[in-house]
Amino acid sequence: MDLAAVYAAHGHLVLRRARQILNDEAEAQDVLQEVFMSLLRDPKQFAGSSSITTFLYSVSTNRCLNRLRDNKTRQRLLAARPSTEAVDARSEHLAQLRQVLTRLPAELAAVVIYAHLDEMTHEEIADQLGCSRRQVGNLLERAAEHWRRQDRQDRQDQQDRQGARP
């Protein structure tokens, strides 16, 4: 594999997705560098069983999820509040979704990224993950259920805190 050619031809998609997922330019650049440095150190991780685009979608998603779990990034996203100025609904929902991603298990967070951020069809997600469309549906249901539980718990915690105030 000619890594320099892969970098020139496909680096843009790694960077674009990292920007979209992380919403931070410096972190997106770090992900770009991590992905290609990792390939440089271990080119065999791209086994050629999928297309290079599929492979890069997968590794960039994983790298971004690692960063979302990083405490600093997580605090940044949780502290982010919608601007008081007019923002479009999608931007606001994107900010909320990034917060959701920090709290979902990695497997579920990845499928949420493919479905909601990348807007892939279930067929594409199945191809991306190497599983069946039914499994994609199950994973998305589990992600939604996980989030509902988390949301209920958050509301309960908030009520408890308010009730505990003198």
Binding site: A5, A9, G11, H12, Q29, F36, S51, Y57, H93, L117
Partner: protein, 240 residues
């Protein structure tokens, strides 16, 4: 779960599908259907052009792959300071330039050579005959329907010949794809006048020295080695 809604109309292609079409690697089962949708959908065409422009801009402005070094995690951030200008350039590229096929020069075998120009921080798509300036950076892109061996050679305004890609050895294998950037770009020196870039597409890895010999012959006597076809692009370097 947070409902983002769709950012593109129902039935349109995902970015992943467009990325795969751009890379010349559409899935076997749906590739023809996706290509047909792309051909007939203005929304997806616009998005595809945007991704393609982003790819070219990245290839032009990203640091060379050889500059990625393990011990220097932030060493190449400087070039992202160009990002705002780049964004404007990409938008201009999308709205004021012709489509991707308009400026690509094809060889007799149907393989194509195109280029983008980085001039003072902005990127534009070049066409044969493009006026450029010393110091401009050119990013070449190739379009091939099947894997080919490629050599890119140049004859500058003084008649001097040189191999640009690869610099020596044999023509390098290129996977099939549309507008795939070469691994590196090149910067124009101070030579003023008309230069010609030849993309030589071969069925086997032909020696660069052999191709250079062919290039050094007069235009009307030039014969490329038999398994090769050439596409050529002219550019004119003018004083700043």
């Amino acid at each position: 779960m947070i409902d983002l809604g769709r950012s593109v109309p129902e039935g349109c292609l995902s970015d992943r599908a467009l990325d795969m079409l751009l890379a010349g690697e559409p899935p076997a089962a749906r590739g023809a259907e996706q290509a047909a949708h792309l051909a007939g959908c203005a929304v997806c065409q616009g998005r595809y052009q945007s991704l393609r422009a982003g790819q070219a801009a990245f290839a032009l402005q990203a640091p060379g792959f050889h500059k990625l070094a393990p011990a220097a995690p932030h060493r190449f951030r400087w070039w992202w300071t160009l990002a705002p200008g780049l964004a404007v350039a990409v938008l201009l590229l999308l709205f004021v330039r012709p489509g991707p096929e308009a400026t690509i020069e094809r060889s007799k075998g149907g393989d194509a050579l195109g280029f983008f120009v980085l001039h003072e921080g902005s990127v534009r798509e070049g066409a044969s005959g493009e006026i450029v300036r010393p110091g401009d950076r050119l990013q070449l892109v190739t379009t091939t329907k099947s894997p080919r061996y490629l050599a890119v050679l140049e004859r500058d305004a003084t008649g001097r010949s040189s191999a640009f890609f690869p610099r020596e050895g044999q023509a390098a294998r290129r996977e099939a794809g549309r507008a795939v950037p070469l691994p590196y770009s090149f910067q124009l020196d101070a030579t003023i006048g008309v230069g010609t870039i030849y993309g030589v597409f071969c069925d086997r890895p032909v020696e660069i020295a052999l191709l250079k010999q062919a290039l050094e012959r007069p235009d009307d006597q030039r014969v490329w080695p038999p398994p090769c076809n050439a596409a050529q692009l002219r550019y004119e370097t003018r004083s700043p």
